[in-house]
Symmetry: C2
Subunit: 189 residues, 2 copies
DNA sequence: GTAATTTATTGACATTTGTCAATCTTTTTA
DNA sequence: TAAAAAGATTGACAAATGTCAATAAATTAC
């Protein structure tokens, strides 16, 4: 098993060496360049990605060519185009790497297999989904209760590394604002 | 077991009569009036609510007294102040009934008990959480990609009953807009 | 290393949305 | 049923944010 995945699982679940091997085999390594498309809009998401190194972006594209970032996934985290992956339906969103990345891919079938063959895996996974869901609830609240400036400040406080690492236009559409507005917010202290 | 709950579980899980009794006992009935507070902001959510009849509102209050609706929960659905319930931390949000309601309450400890004693319960619950999470992702997307009018039209199409049943000001803050703006959107075609 | 491309900033202006206040309507309660 | 409370609408105006265009800066690719 990849040491980064092992670290991720530490404290979340205890695996026998046999189980560890099974889990390790289910996560297939993938090394990508920057700006590589992992999932095209319209295709069905087959994998969840664990990010060992690099960064993924799940984003929407509209008819007129504009893009909106639904999620960003950094080192030590898992993610995918969740609705498509769970419902096994064509994805509204696409997935791309924002940096050269090292990934571990878990297929939907292997995911089911882990549920069945590794006691405790489903509980661990459920708890992970619960936390992701909570994060998304908090993001919804940020849209309901905060203006653009407040959302930016909040992001700056919670994920300062995001701002340094990613182009501002990605941050802007993650926040749901135009890149010009973000640029002005930054200078406006 | 309450017939509404039985109907909810139908097709999701198969229970022995003994298990059915256990589940039925875990969900405690509660009859409320309109505008009754089920959870105060600052308290920790102890229950998930299944709505047999009526409607719940999970909402945020700010210092200046304004309110924002985080979630609305109608008949045949379950919900609570999710972050507080899962993390067992003081809730940012409060819960109130918007109508006289019939509820079934599941405590956190009984929830754990069902996980342990009813095979398949956790799987069913996980799938429910996945769907709720998907719904919240779609709501995030609505904030990133749509303006107020588009969000209103979308809600009107997906949940027309909500608009008829609830005061417009509740709808407005669910959409993240002022009640005046909503009022204008409605007349504007 | 330089050209090409992408990204960021800034200004001018348009549009959307919010706020406040007044009034009208509906619903609730006594 | 009448009074009171809550909710909805509308106008006037302010504030926030978007759009378009020009330019500057940074990054990427050859």
């Amino acid at each position: 098993m990849h040491p980064a995945l092992k670290k991720y699982l530490e404290g979340k679940i205890i695996l026998s060496s046999q189980q560890e091997q099974l889990v390790g085999n289910c996560f297939k390594p993938l090394v990508t360049k920057r700006n590589q498309i992992l999932l095209q809009k319209g295709n069905t998401a087959k994998y969840i990605y664990f990010v060992v190194k690099g960064c993924l972006r799940v984003f929407l594209t509209t008819e007129d060519g504009s893009e909106s970032t639904r999620f960003l996934i950094f080192e030590g985290r898992m993610g995918t185009a969740f609705p498509s992956f769970i419902l096994q339906q064509p994805s509204q969103a696409a997935i791309q790497t924002l940096e050269a990345s090292h990934l571990l891919m878990l297929s939907n079938t292997d995911r089911q297999r882990l549920y069945q063959e590794v006691p405790g895996w489903e509980t661990m996974d459920r708890k992970g989904i619960e936390l992701d869901y909570i994060a998304s609830i908090e993001r919804i609240e940020s849209f309901i209760t905060m203006d653009a400036k407040a959302r930016y400040d909040s992001l700056m406080q919670q994920h300062p590394q995001m701002l340094q690492r990613l182009p501002a236009k990605i941050i802007a559409d993650y926040l749901g604002i135009s890149k010009e507005t973000l640029s002005r917010l930054k200078s406006k202290r």
